[in-house]
Amino acid sequence: MALVANDVHHIFSGGEPDEARALDGVSIRMEEGEFIILAGRSGSGKSTLLRCLSGMLKPSKGGVSIDAMDAVKARKLVGLAVQSPERALFEKTLYDDIAFGPVNRGYGEDEVRRAVMDTIEIVGLDETLLKGSPRALSQGQKRLAALAGIIALGPKYLFLDEPMSGLDAGGRRRIMETLIRLNKGGTTIVAATHSVAHFMGISSRLIVLDSGKVRFDGRPEGLLALEDPSGLALPPSLVWAIKLRKRGIEVEWDAGPEKMAELLWRAHESFV
């Protein structure tokens, strides 16, 4: 089974003076179990594409199918974590917040409990937090709690919009561990980000959007060959690796600063 976007176009405020073409003919096929980074500068169409892929927004033209169903009808297979999803935590206790979706889907009491307990294990939140208010959690925990509410419904495809923004290194690591765990369990993950740095090394596929079109689709290391990767907030090691490559020196994208300095120094010596 797979997710297929076929020639997807989307225009906001069509015919108005502030008409904005967000997507301009995107065709992608995502296989079950992939972990995909959707990158691109601000305004490149990432968030709009996520909404179309997850069936939350019907494209102006073209179509999206999930497991051979129209995306809008396949919403039960999909979870979408919008930017800063913790802003939607609203219940009195963390338990009720995570249980909200399962309860609304009509799960029985035992099923709800199981869904909540399984989910907090996946996201790595301590059971003792369940009785407390979600508002008392740290920023990183709130992000995990909001994700838990989405994961509790067991989506086959999970879409995330900037899941790392505003988190410190520890918070980012916990989100990353959660996503890796979910992906290993078979969930297809698509994470939109302008900061490729956080995902390099764990994702097998990178799709770069530019002005609503797919500009790159391949293994993340393929970024090394991009002519102008500006606007992608790349890790510094990759930025230097690209510069060295332009001088004919090959180095892996994640080389440490000491090794990178040695290579830069040698390149400099051979130059002077």
Partner: protein
């Protein structure tokens, strides 16, 4: 100068700031770093008088925020992490003009300020657009323009680039550098040490206290401190240290 003197603040029975003392001069660029929940955002809201100390004092150019919170809000502009929290009007121009109009400025002064602010963030072509047609990153630049249009003495930025791409983040950083040069005091809250490296001084918070304060180079060299603060010296700094070492060895070998 912004002066915090032994400031305490708690949310109910949860302490957020525990005796913070800190000064920020006009024209100084400070990076405020620390783990989530170390008190960074609470401290930012103190400076803008959105919160008042439970104990201790916060003064802006000699005026206590308790005595005149409006003075603090006029002097200290805030830019938050999420631009969605900051939009007040439908059109970009009106959004940026909101602050200056509230100050009761004449129309030509409002126009000049809005124009300059939009140019500073590179959004002058988008003035007539509806904010909803902008990307998240562009919305953040509108929020920054709104803060600039207030012509503040100090500006507090709470992770303003975390939702921006490389180009947008650079536009914000460039705008901040020129603000600093024009004498505005900058307090930049960040998790990104590459970003913090550009500051005159880094202030490290931990559990509501100032753990350390000093020039970036000094702090990054202190491995014990970095470990206890839970932060890592940035890649670019480590790279430049290694290059300096290689250069010194090279000159040493040549007997210079």
């Amino acid at each position: 100068m912004i002066e915090l003197e032994d400031v305490f603040y708690s949310y109910g029975d949860r302490p957020a700031l525990r005796g913070i003392s800190l000064n920020v001069r006009e024209g100084e660029y400070i990076a405020l770093v620390g783990l989530n929940a170390s008190g960074k955002s609470t401290l930012a809201m103190m400076m803008d008088a959105l919160l008042l100390p439970d104990n201790g004092n916060c003064t802006i150019d000699g005026i206590n925020t308790r005595d005149d919170p409006l003075f603090a809000r006029r002097s200290v502009a805030m830019v938050f992490q999420n631009p969605e929290d900051q939009a007040v009007a439908r059109k970009v121009w009106d959004d940026v003009a909101f602050g200056p109009r509230n100050l009761g400025l004449p129309a030509d002064a409002v126009e000049r300020r809005v124009k300059n602010a939009l140019i500073a963030v590179g959004l002058e072509r988008h003035a007539a657009k509806s904010s909803s047609a902008l990307s998240g990153g562009q919305k953040q630049l509108v929020a920054l323009a709104g803060a600039l249009a207030m012509e503040p003495s100090y500006i507090v930025l709470d992770e303003p680039t975390s939702m921006l791409d490389g180009t947008g983040a650079k536009a914000v950083r460039d705008a901040i550098v020129s603000l600093k040069l024009s004498g505005v005091g900058i307090i930049w809250i960040t998790h990104d040490m590459e970003e913090a490296m550009a500051a005159d001084r880094i202030v490290v918070l931990r559990e509501g206290e100032v753990l350390a304060s000093g020039p970036p180079d000094e702090l990054f060299c202190d491995k014990g401190l970095m470990a206890s603060a839970g932060i890592e010296a940035p890649y670019t700094w480590r790279l430049s240290k290694k290059l300096q070492e290689l250069e010194a060895n090279f000159h040493g070998a040549r007997g210079e």
